[in-house]
């Protein structure tokens, strides 16, 4: 197995920045489980694999490079670097035509976005529509939290006002002062919009919402984490 070059390390580090990922249409994934899943789900986009020497991980892939622990630290986006990493092209997911669409407005926390991608995948969604200022889905922390669902769910970054103005579907928005979601008739064909962690839905999006829904509160917590609120609302749409 060939050793990794200094230039390659520099290149991989550069992919920590969104603009470089977009330029190269490439991103890094980390961890044996994730790399194995990529090789299984979408082998055609796996370009190179990097393995720490003596790590007891065996991955049979033609373009594999050997790295040491220091190099793994240099490449990894995490404080505890992984012993197995891979360089991937952006996935080419062809979303299905779906009745229900999840829309995210300015989600900032990578962990939240990754968790929501995994959740959407669980409920069988193949796309999520996001405002342009939602955190990039190829950020290492998003990838990690998505647990491989990033290979199956396409994130479409677009102008939400435009998008919502051009739909005929009823638009449901999660707000703190909406109708009790448990007592709301939820159609199969619908759009659900979830807002920013701190500020909720932006005003321009709120103005386009047809039905405000709220998860009723029985206790003292001021709010729910956005991935938690998304899970409860998605479950309500899909249980019916």
């Amino acid at each position: 197995v060939e050793r990794i070059s200094k230039n390659k390390i520099k290149f991989l580090r550069s992919l920590r920045m969104k603009k470089n990922r977009e330029l190269e249409q490439s991103f890094l994934i980390e961890g044996e489980k994730m790399v194995l899943e990529a090789l299984q789900v979408c082998p055609e986009i796996v370009k190179e694999v990097y393995l720490v020497k003596n790590s007891n991980i065996t991955i049979d892939f033609k373009n594999s490079y050997e790295i040491n622990s220091t190099e793994s630290e240099q490449i990894s986006g995490f404080k505890t670097p992984n012993k197995c990493l891979a360089l991937l092209s952006y996935p080419t997911i062809e979303p299905k035509k779906e009745d229900f669409t999840l829309v995210l407005d300015q989600i900032q926390d990578p962990g939240n976005l990754g968790t929501i991608i995994r959740l959407a995948d669980w409920f069988g969604l193949t796309k999520i529509v996001c405002s342009k200022d939602t955190v990039d889905c190829f950020n290492s922390k998003v990838i990690q939290a998505s647990m491989g669902s990033i290979f199956r769910v396409k994130l479409i970054y677009t102008d939400l006002e435009e998008y919502l103005k051009n739909t005929n579907l009823p638009i449901f928005g999660a707000l703190l002062n909406g109708n009790n979601v448990y007592q709301t008739q939820l159609p199969q064909k619908a759009i659900l919009v979830m807002g920013n962690e701190g500020n909720g839905l932006s005003e321009s999006v709120q103005n386009l919402v047809n039905q405000k829904v709220t998860i009723p509160k029985f206790g003292g917590a001021e709010s729910l984490n956005v991935s938690i609120a998304t899970s409860i609302l998605l479950s309500e749409f899909f249980r019916s």
Copy 2:
């Protein structure tokens, strides 16, 4: 305002370890919002407040100490240290008698536990029963994710086998091969047990479960994050 002493810093750092927190029955909270909430919800347990000089945070509390950025780094449990911290005694929450009880078996991730505490608080639960090897609720990352709900929800660490053997309530367990939760009659008086992130419910607990329930999967994700699964199941119990 008095300056903090070297010994005090050492003491506060020692509270990063669970055994020291238990010895002192004390823990640290971080961030202006959290400290203000503590002063509002449970002022009687706030012992001392530490404020970074010139941080523009004004908190009127008698036992306040001035710290500098270096000291805040030394005290804080986070990579990005907070400008405002406080030392608290363990809360003395008197849980209400509740029909429904959430039970956690070996939850390991502090972020998950904190999110579940916040979620339980949202649904009005005042206690959570945990296996003894569940992550400690006074861990700084749990506190942060709980967003102040730690002041309202009591965590009871106990032998789950014992606890579950001594209840007359039906015990629901979240498993991947259970009955569709959407088609299961969920009583108001019940216990719901959630298992470990990687391994699910331990065998001894599984043997005590009366009804296995599952969130049906429509897509490709292998599993759901435990805080997400807990939120969907809690929502199902509370919506009825």
